[in-house]
Amino acid sequence: MVRLGQNRREARLLASLGLVAGLGALVPAASSADGSAKSASTSSPGSQTIGLAITSWRWALMETPDLKECPNGLQPGEVAQLKATPGAVERIRAEGGTFEQRGPNGESPQHSPDLVKDPLPFRELVSKAGFGANLDGTPDGRATARTCKHDKFAGVDLTQGEQVDNQTARVLGCVQGFRTGGQTAEFYSNEVANFVVNRHLIEVTGVDSEVNDPAVEVRIYKGYDRVVRTADGNRFVPFLSQRIDTRYPQYNLKTKGRIVNGVLITDPISAVFPHSSERQYADRDMKDMTLRLKLGPESADGILAGYDNWKRQYELHSKRVVAELDKMSHPSIWHAYKRYADGYPDPKTGQCNYISAAYKITAVRSIIVHPAKPSQRIARN
C-alpha cells in the first residue's frame, strides 16, 4: 500500500504533541496516492487543505440534569404502553408474544405505528433555546414554499443570536434513547467512531486562513479507514491518513463555504450519508445540509444541520426489535415526526416530508487520501 504524506503526518503528530514548534496547523493540498501532493513549505495561499474525519455524531438536544426541558418527564417506553393498554397483557399471556406484540393482532408497534395506539401521551420537549441552524431563512418559522409553519428556537453556542430550526429536538428531546446516555445515542455515536460504514470525511480546500476565509470548497466523502483513539481513550490521534472509499461515489458531496472567526460555515446542499447503527444500514437523506464547525488545531466540533427525510429517520431507528432501554413509544414518535415535520411539503397533501434536525459532531484532523488505483482504495492496513 502506498503511504504518502507519512512524514508530514508524523510531523503533524509531533507538532500536536508540542514536540515540534512553528508548524502551521494547515495541511497541504489533499495527498494523493500517486504522490502528487505539494509540500507544506511550498504551498501558496489558498492551496491549503483541512482534512477531518467525524468521530462522533449525536442528536443536538437541550439537556439539563433536572429535566427542565421535559416538564412532564421522559417518554414512557413500550412496556409502559403495553401495561396501559386495556387487555393487552392478558391477550399476550393467552395468545403468546412479548411486550413488543401489543397490536390488536400481535403487531409490533414500530412496524405498524398507524395501527397500534399509545394510551400514554407523548411528552414533548419544551424549550425556548436550542441547537440548530436557521434552515428556512425566516425569523419566525412562517410557512414558505418549501417549509411548513413551525416554532423556532433561540440559537445557542455557535448559532447564538439566530432563530434556528430543529423540530427533531421536539420529537426526540424527551426520549431517553436519544439523549446522552441513551442506548440509541450511545450506540450510534460509538459506531460512528468504531465502524467503517460510518466513516465520514470532510475535506476543506482552498484555505488561506483558518480564522477568516471568505471562500473555501468543502467536500464530504465516505471513508474507509479506522480512526484511532489515544491511549487514554479520550481523544483521537490526529493527522492519520484516511482513504476515500471510492466504491461509493454516491456519498461524495461538494459545497462551498467560508470560515468566520475560526468557524467553518458551509452552504446548504442535498446530502446522502451512509448510516449504520445497531445493524441498521441505510442512507441518511438530508436536504439543505449545512455545517457549523469550530476548527481546532487537532480537531473540530460543532453542528451538522439540515432537513431529514423523517420517514427514513424513523425507519433508521425503528426497524429493529424494540429495546426497552430506549424507552421509545414508536407510534408516538411516528406521529410526532409527522406533526412537527417542517420541510418540503408534499404538493398535493401539504404534509411536510422532511423535518429540521441538528446533530452535534466532533471530528479529528486527518489527511484525506484519494486512492489512485482500486487496490489502494480498499487495501487493508
Binding site: 412496524h111 395501527l115 467503517v196 449504520s276 482500486p374
Partner: protein
C-alpha cells in the same frame, strides 16, 4: 437446485483423503461408515448414503459431562420476557410451532448398527438410536429436497439469525497451521488466516519463484523446516534455503493486501478454489450495497429472505425455524401487519414461466399474500399461489421503500428476536469489516 454429481464430488473428496483423520479415511475406504464426505463450496460436508446433507447442533456434544439435548421433539412454546416483567408466556403463534426434530429429522441408526470410527450411536430421549459424528448427533433437514442441497444451514443474518444453532456437519480435515477454507463467491477457497485473505497461485508459474507482476509483490507462503508432503500438500523450495507450501502442485502465495483482483488476474494470478461456487441464474444479479454485495432481481433491486427462529426454552434447546409453509404467520404479522399490508411491503420476486433453477437459486410455489389469517399459517394451502425465486429454499422478496439498486432499507427489519427479513448477501463479499 442442481444436485452435486456424487461421482465428481467423491473424486474431489478423494483428493484430500489423505488430509482426513485416519479413522475417517479408513471408514470411508471400507464403506462401513454411515456417512461420507463430499467436498462442496460450503466445505467438506457429511452426507448420508442417499446423498442428503447432515447437520449438527452447536453445543450438542453427547460426550460432554453436562450433555443436554438441544434438538428435541418438543416445540418451543415458552418465551422469556424479562424486559416487561410480566412473566413468562407462550411464543406468539405457539400452537403452530413445530419441534426441532420435526424440522431436522434425526439421522437414525438401524437396530443392529454399531459404532464405527468417528461415528457413534446415541439414544434419544424418546428411545430411538441416532448416529453421531465425533459425539455430535446428526440430523437431516426437511428443507433439503434432493441430494446436493444444503438449505438447512442458511439462516440469514442479523437479528433473524439469533439463537439458530443448526449447522452443516463437516468432516474434520487436517490443514497445515495457518490455513483454512472460506466460502466466497468463487466457491470454497483456501484462506490464509494471518492476513484473512484468500491464497493465490500463478497459472504461468511452473517453478518456484518470488513473484512480481505489474508492480504487485506476492509473498510465498513459507513452510516450517519440519513440514512434509501430505495428500494435496507438498513442499517446494522458495529460494534462500526457505520452503514454501504448494497445493495440488502449485506454489501458494499471499496476494498484496488487497481484495481487488482485477489488477493481477491478467498476470496469471488466480485464487485457489477448492470447490467451485454455484452458477447464477440470469434472473439474479449482484449489486454493491452498504453491507457488501447482495443478490438482486433483474432491475438491480435488493432481494430479501424471511427468516424466523423461535428461541428454545430458556435458550437451552435450539431455536426452531418458523418461516416455512404451515408455520405460524404471527411472527410475520409482528414485522408487517396483516396479510394485505405484508404483501404490499414485501413483494415476491416472481419467476418467469420459462425460468430454470440454477445453483443455490430455485423456484418455489408460495401463496401471495403470504398469509390470510393472522392467527393461521404462513403460505396456507387454500390461498392464491405464485412461483417465485428462492435462495436456499427461502422465497425472495423486494422491499417497498427501496428506490434504487444498492438500497437495503429492508435489511434486518425485525419484529421479534429471531424473526425478520434480511438481504441475501453474496458469500464472502461483505463490506462490513474494519480494515
Amino acid at each position: 437446485m442442481k444436485a452435486l454429481p456424487l461421482n465428481r464430488a467423491a473424486a474431489v473428496g478423494a483428493l484430500i483423503l489423505a488430509c482426513l483423520s485416519p479413522a475417517a479415511a479408513r471408514d470411508a475406504e471400507t464403506g462401513t461408515a454411515p456417512a461420507h464426505m463430499v467436498m462442496t463450496f460450503d466445505g467438506p460436508v457429511l452426507v448420508n448414503p442417499a446423498g442428503m446433507a447432515l447437520y449438527t447442533v452447536a453445543n450438542e456434544d453427547s460426550a460432554a459431562y453436562h450433555f443436554t439435548w438441544r434438538c428435541t421433539n418438543v416445540a418451543p412454546v415458552r418465551v422469556r420476557d424479562a424486559q416487561s416483567e410480566t412473566g413468562d408466556r407462550p411464543h406468539i403463534g405457539y400452537k403452530l410451532l413445530k419441534s426441532c426434530a420435526a424440522k431436522f429429522p434425526p439421522y437414525l441408526a438401524d437396530a443392529n448398527a454399531k459404532p464405527v470410527g468417528d461415528y457413534t450411536i446415541v439414544t434419544r430421549p424418546e428411545g430411538s438410536r441416532q448416529w453421531a459424528y465425533r459425539n455430535y448427533p446428526l440430523y437431516t433437514s426437511i428443507r433439503d429436497h434432493k441430494p446436493g442441497e444444503r438449505n438447512g444451514s442458511y439462516n440469514g443474518s442479523g437479528y433473524s439469525a439469533r439463537g439458530f444453532g443448526m449447522r452443516l456437519a463437516v468432516q474434520a480435515v487436517r490443514l497445515p497451521v495457518g490455513f483454512k477454507f472460506s466460502r466466497r463467491n468463487e466457491g470454497l477457497v483456501l484462506h490464509w488466516t494471518a492476513t484473512e485473505t484468500p491464497l493465490y497461485t500463478n497459472r504461468n508459474a511452473s517453478r518456484v519463484q518470488l513473484a512480481s507482476a505489474g508492480g504487485l509483490s506476492f509473498d510465498p507462503v513459507l513452510a516450517p523446516a519440519v513440514a512434509s508432503a501430505s495428500g494435496d500438500w507438498s513442499i517446494v523450495e522458495a529460494g534462500a534455503g526457505q520452503k514454501q507450501y504448494a497445493f495440488r502442485g502449485k506454489p501458494l502465495y499471499i496476494a498484496p493486501l488487497t481484495i481487488d483482483e482485477t489488477e493481477f488476474k491478467a498476470a496469471g494470478w488466480e485464487m485457489v478454489v477448492v470447490s467451485k461456487g454455484p452458477a447464477l441464474p440470469s434472473a439474479i444479479g449482484k449489486q454493491l450495497s452498504l453491507i457488501g454485495e447482495v443478490y438482486t432481481n433483474r432491475n438491480g433491486m435488493t432481494l430479501y429472505a424471511y427468516n424466523c427462529n423461535a428461541s428454545g426454552s430458556g435458550r437451552v434447546t435450539v431455536a426452531v425455524s418458523c418461516d416455512a409453509a404451515g408455520d405460524p404467520a404471527a411472527w410475520m404479522v409482528a414485522v408487517c401487519g396483516d396479510g394485505k399490508e405484508c404483501a404490499k411491503r414485501w413483494r415476491p420476486y416472481i419467476a418467469a414461466a420459462n425460468a430454470k433453477p440454477e445453483g443455490e437459486f430455485s423456484i418455489v410455489d408460495i401463496t401471495y399474500p403470504m398469509f390470510t389469517d393472522m392467527r393461521g399459517a404462513l403460505y396456507p394451502a387454500d390461498a392464491p399461489r405464485v412461483k417465485v425465486w428462492a435462495y436456499r429454499d427461502r422465497p425472495l422478496f423486494t422491499y417497498h421503500t427501496d428506490e434504487k439498486p444498492g438500497d437495503i432499507y429492508g435489511h434486518n427489519v425485525s419484529g421479534l428476536w429471531g424473526s425478520g427479513f434480511a438481504a441475501v448477501e453474496v458469500p464472502g463479499m461483505s463490506a462490513i469489516f474494519q480494515p
